[in-house]
């Protein structure tokens, strides 16, 4: 199967005076049509920058982004605008991404004015169908964002993303602003939309429990680099990289008396402006050897489809 999205050696560098920050460093991965790939990692590991590069909101420093056979990085602004209707994004903070002065109707129908050339009646029908899909009653169309609960705002954000029938949606922390009890409803909605509309998702989240339930494959990033990638069960149940292992064990499980062994990592991620030359994780890794501090790590396949960037266990 031809992947819908193929990222090749994506690198995004931000400069601040003489300082260089490699927000995304040599990142490659693919997403197949209809698939959900989770992108996990802690703050400032480059998750959101990756999504912004795919959406064309940030210009990659180098690397290619192939979408449906087209290299998005080579398109002119005008051509990119035409392609963008196939790629949509649901943003992290609904309070920042929904215009407080627009009604729900305006927010959700705005994309229709920009991309399709249909008559007004079609817009209306489309709006009704979309709102029904996301579970928002018509009475809410005249409301403003501040009159909605957190879950409703996120549903509006989702409605705006899907109303123009995109092929691909980047979900940037779609549930992190929500209460635990609401998260599962929003994830169920996303799953149902995927089944009905065949949308492909990139699910960016630091909430690994959400990723576990919605994605088929998962990518783990640390300081701009991919440290582990593979099928969800493999990466969650048999994590290979010491960072992934610590990350998994750090998340509390709602079952008393399980007695899971929690790996508490020392310290915090290093200054992203000053990443060590070897493995970026070496300073917090309990198993790091001397060469981990010096030698750059390459991804290698430990099981079919399961990639790990770690010196340990390699020849």
């Amino acid at each position: 199967m031809e992947p819908l999205l193929r990222i090749e050696k994506l690198t995004k560098v931000f400069r601040q005076g003489r300082h260089v920050l490699r927000a995304v460093d040599d990142l490659s991965f693919e997403i197949n049509p209809g698939e959900t790939v989770g992108l996990v990692g802690e703050s400032s590991c480059g998750k959101t920058t990756t999504a912004r590069c795919i959406m064309g909101l940030d210009k990659p420093t180098s690397g290619r982004i192939w979408f449906d056979g087209l290299d998005l990085t080579a398109l002119s602004r005008r051509d990119m605008r035409r392609q963008r209707r196939w790629l949509q994004m649901v943003f992290q903070d609904p309070d920042a991404s929904l215009n407080p002065r627009f009604t729900v109707r305006r927010i959700v129908t705005d994309p229709l004015r920009l991309v399709t050339m249909e008559g007004r009646g079609d817009h209306e029908r489309r709006l009704q169908a979309t709102m029904e899909r996301v579970g928002i009653p018509p009475a809410f169309l005249s409301r403003y964002p501040h009159q909605l609960s957190g879950g409703q705002k996120q549903r509006v954000g989702i409605a705006r993303a899907i109303i123009i029938n995109p092929k691909f949606v980047a979900l940037d922390e779609p549930t992190s602003s929500l209460d635990m009890s609401i998260r599962i409803h929003v994830l169920s909605l996303l799953k149902q939309l995927q089944e009905e509309l065949g949308i492909t998702y990139l699910l960016i989240s630091h909430d690994l429990s959400s990723v576990r339930s919605l994605s088929e494959r998962v990518l783990v990033m640390y300081l701009g680099r991919l440290v582990e990638a593979g099928p969800v069960e493999a990466v969650f149940d048999r994590p290979y990289h010491p960072y992934t292992r610590a990350l998994m064990s750090a998340i509390p499980v709602p079952e008393p008396g399980l007695n899971r062994k929690r790996i508490v990592l020392p310290g915090e991620p290093p200054d992203p402006f000053n990443v060590p030359p070897g493995c970026a994780f070496c300073e917090r890794c309990a198993e790091a050897a001397a060469y981990c501090h010096r030698e750059p790590v390459q991804l290698r396949e430990v099981q079919p489809g399961h990639l790990v960037a770690c010196h340990l266990g390699s020849e």
């Binding site: 996301v134 635990m180 919605l214 709602p254 008393p256 399980l258 990592l265």
Partner: protein
């Protein structure tokens, strides 16, 4: 645990907000107990009154909120009957609180060393120099590397995890009998959250404090707390030991909370469909406030407040279904 002394007892506390539509009862007969040395989880959704319960105990409610009735017995004294001056002596050394929002607890214009030192000066009456040295010591105790250097930093120069460590250092300086920690790990990365939760457990060992941990994360409750109080729309729905409440939730609300929880160790079936929009909560009802969302509500649930029943020692519930 039942034989040990009760440190804090909140009995039928009512709190109302003054609104243009008349008083709005935001805490409705809230009762809870904290025994010596235990960690109690206070769980509920946003707007359920978790933080408000903490603020009521601290007597730090905003001016538009009024405590209408109830008793807050701390070490045998009713805090609601104390003068503001007497209450001030309780705050800090008696009950301390880590407020929600990591940076809000720190003064952005003061170096962190001075902020921790101030706690020692006020709470223990130390001289400025001694207080500063003690402050550095407690920063070291919460594992701030190169504490002397960081003591000269301002809060904006610290990461979220470090800010939370500084706040915990200030708690150590107070040596309170009871610590109320309001969402102490919200907004932190999971590996940092794990560090902070370990640190909070250490506080109990170091200074013997009891802890009320306010959170919406049932995973944190399961791994950190001994007992749990479930609150919904200002009403306590159920309390119990963590093991009995997770194994056998009695209230439909607790059941729905536990039923909708996502887990990292296995995938949870996402079969719910779009779901209905019943996030809105009615505070103006004489009955059980969960009735509007309850799948098994009875006619009396709408207008009659269910009585508190203790079905087993230590495991209580307020539900008409549990007779």
């Amino acid at each position: 645990m039942r034989n040990s002394a009760t440190l804090l007892e909140v009995v039928d506390v009512d709190v109302s907000f003054k609104t243009v539509l008349g008083p709005l009862r935001v805490l409705d007969k809230v009762s809870l107990k904290v025994e010596q040395g235990e960690i109690v989880g206070l769980v509920g959704e946003s707007g359920s009154g978790k933080s408000l319960t903490g603020l009521t105990i601290m007597r730090l409610l905003p001016p538009q909120a009024v405590t209408d009735a109830g008793i807050i017995r701390f070490r045998g004294v009713d805090l609601l009957g104390l003068s503001e001056r007497e209450m001030r002596r309780i705050r800090g050394s008696g009950v301390a609180m880590i407020f929600q929002g990591i940076r809000t607890g720190l003064n952005p214009l003061m170096r962190i060393g001075d902020q921790v030192a101030r706690v020692y000066r006020v709470q223990q009456g130390l001289s400025s120099k001694d207080a500063y040295e003690k402050g550095i010591e407690s920063l070291q105790q919460v594992a701030i590397p190169r504490a002397e250097a960081w003591a000269r930093a301002y809060p904006h120069q610290l990461s979220g995890g470090m800010c939370q460590r500084v706040l915990i250092a200030m708690v150590l300086a107070c040596k309170p009998d009871l610590l109320i920690a309001d969402e102490p790990t919200t907004g932190l990365d999971v590996t940092i959250q794990a560090q902070i939760l370990e640190l909070i457990k250490e506080i109990r060992l170091k200074i013997g404090a009891s802890i009320v941990l306010i959170t919406h994360d049932l995973g944190i409750v399961a791994e950190t707390c001994e007992r749990v109080v479930v609150i919904y729309a200002g009403q306590v729905m159920e309390t119990g030991t963590v093991s009995s409440l997770f194994a056998e939730p009695l209230h439909p609300y607790t059941q729905s909370l536990l039923g909708s929880v996502l887990r990292v160790d296995r995938a949870v079936a996402l079969t719910d469909g779009p779901g209905t929009i019943t996030e809105e909560v009615s505070f103006r009802t004489g009955g059980c406030r969960f009735a509007a969302r309850c799948p098994v509500a009875l006619p009396q649930c709408w207008h009659e407040r269910p009585l508190w029943r203790e079905l087993e020692p230590g495991h209580g519930v307020a539900c008409h279904r549990q007779v």
